[in-house]
Amino acid sequence: MNAIRHTFQAIGAIFWMLVHTGEEMGDAVRRRRPAFPLRVFHQQAYRVGVGSVPLVALVCFFVGLTIALLTGHQLRSFGQERMVPVLVAIAFTRELGPLMTGIMLAARIGAAYTAELGTMTVAEEVEALEGMGIGALRYLVSPRVLAAVVLTPCLAVVGNVFALVGAALISLWAFHMAWEFFFTTVLDTLLIRDLVFGVFKSLLFGVIVGAVSCYKGLAVTGGAAGVGTAATASVVTSITAVIGFDTVFNVMVVALFEK
């Protein structure tokens, strides 16, 4: 019962953190200042985006390759291995690309955000920003959440491309499927809707990872040990929230659009 209460309290606190961040951004605009600090946004965008490309590309490449190989072998017993490009394309654009990107970002960026903000909280740096009237939420939270929101869909697209390349390579080697046939089938199969759902979902995963990790960082208590605990909790919570939200989203999409 306590766990449920704490979960709802945390969801409420994250919601209000985002509302207050929006208020501070609005106040900055009213004062004719940038809504968020551009320099911090650039730093964070580079970190989230460019910094995560190798990880996302590599992991998606291997997963795409593995899925194509394993499903291809099963489909070959029915003489249906030509379905491999269809399967990999739909699986990645709608589900695995955004989901795996969300999970990898939660692990890579979520932990870093929480540890960074947690250390700043413990060292009174967050309080100093707040005390100067700069607005710690606008200065610290808005660029981080925005970077995660903007860059997660881009990373998901990168992940999709590398997964398809991995699948195409293994299909060529294991099933003698021409490179051209593979990608023509992918383009014929994919619907705009699949791409839109995937991108939309990854946008929301960006919000979840950014908001949860910033909240966990700002709520740190208990010194260095507290920062460590918060970073772990942030990764666990973000990954659980991403997977939970993904499930809800898929159920809703199937119920509303695929009758």
Binding site: R33, E125, A128, E130, G131, G133, I134
Partner: protein, 255 residues
């Protein structure tokens, strides 16, 4: 007492869970005063500053800045009030990822419309005031405690605030640096005509900088007066605190 105090605390109570930190504290600080709050470690002095800055909200009672009750202000208005206040933290609280110059530039770039040149000039001016002009490009981690404290002081006054809050400005510093900091506090507050509230348990510093003093004991302000009045006070708590005697009403927590 001045009719228009800059800071007022009226019957303020503050609890952290079961622990009561302040139990009916009232005070009033007038413009251009250097008001020193003394008290034992852990008596709630720093907490008092956080109440004045609106970082903490009292459990009961009212905290007013320039006549405005902080509890009634929206976040936006509270931030506006905070821009008129400078705080110098006990452990400096410099942003560790920024250089000294960037730390000082931060309030200016975020809160004012000053040009790059004006900002650079102001940074040089404030760093010179605290004798740290050569440290512009250093990271906070490369500085000693005393240097960080002086940079924190420079950042606290960079916007020429009306009120400066000093949290243990000389704690842990050697006597020479302590004297330098004390002189800086007096010089700076006189130069920019600011009001200061200084929290300390170091009596030498307290008597050097104060125009008025008070002692926080067991959640309440025990006494308030000029340094001379405090020095000659017959209040046993104050007398024991000033003399540092081990016998008297202030007992060691373990006894």
């Amino acid at each position: 007492m001045n009719e228009n105090p800059m800071v007022e605390l009226e019957d303020v109570y503050l609890d952290f869970g079961d622990q009561s930190v302040l139990e009916g504290t009232s005070l009033s600080v007038c413009p251009q005063e250097r008001f020193v709050i003394m008290g034992r470690s852990g008596s709630g002095k720093s907490t008092l500053l956080r109440l004045i800055l609106g970082i903490l909200q009292p459990t009961r009672g009212d905290v007013r800045f320039d006549g405005q009750s902080l509890a009634k202000l929206s976040r936006r208005k509270l931030n506006r009030v905070r821009r008129r206040v400078g705080m110098v933290y006990q452990y400096s609280a410099l942003i560790s990822s920024l250089t000294v110059a960037e730390n000082l530039a931060l309030p200016l770039t975020e809160l004012t419309r000053k040009s790059r040149n004006e900002i650079e000039t102001l940074i040089d001016e404030k760093l010179e005031m605290v004798g740290m002009k050569d440290m512009r490009q250093k990271m906070p981690a490369e500085l000693s405690g005393g240097m960080r404290k002086r940079i924190g002081l420079a950042r606290g006054i960079i916007l020429d605030p009306e009120l400066i809050l000093f949290d243990e400005p000389t704690a842990g510093l050697d006597p020479v640096i302590s004297s330098v900091i004390n002189e800086l506090i007096i010089e700076l507050t006189e130069k920019i005509h600011a009001t200061s509230i200084i929290v300390t348990h170091e009596m030498d510093s307290a008597f050097k900088v104060a125009t008025r003093m008070a002692m926080l004991y067991e959640g309440k302000l025990q006494i308030s007066g000029t340094p001379d009045e405090i020095r000659s006070s017959k209040d046993p708590v104050v007398a024991q605190f000033i003399s540092g005697d081990t016998t008297g009403p202030i007992q060691n927590e373990s006894s």
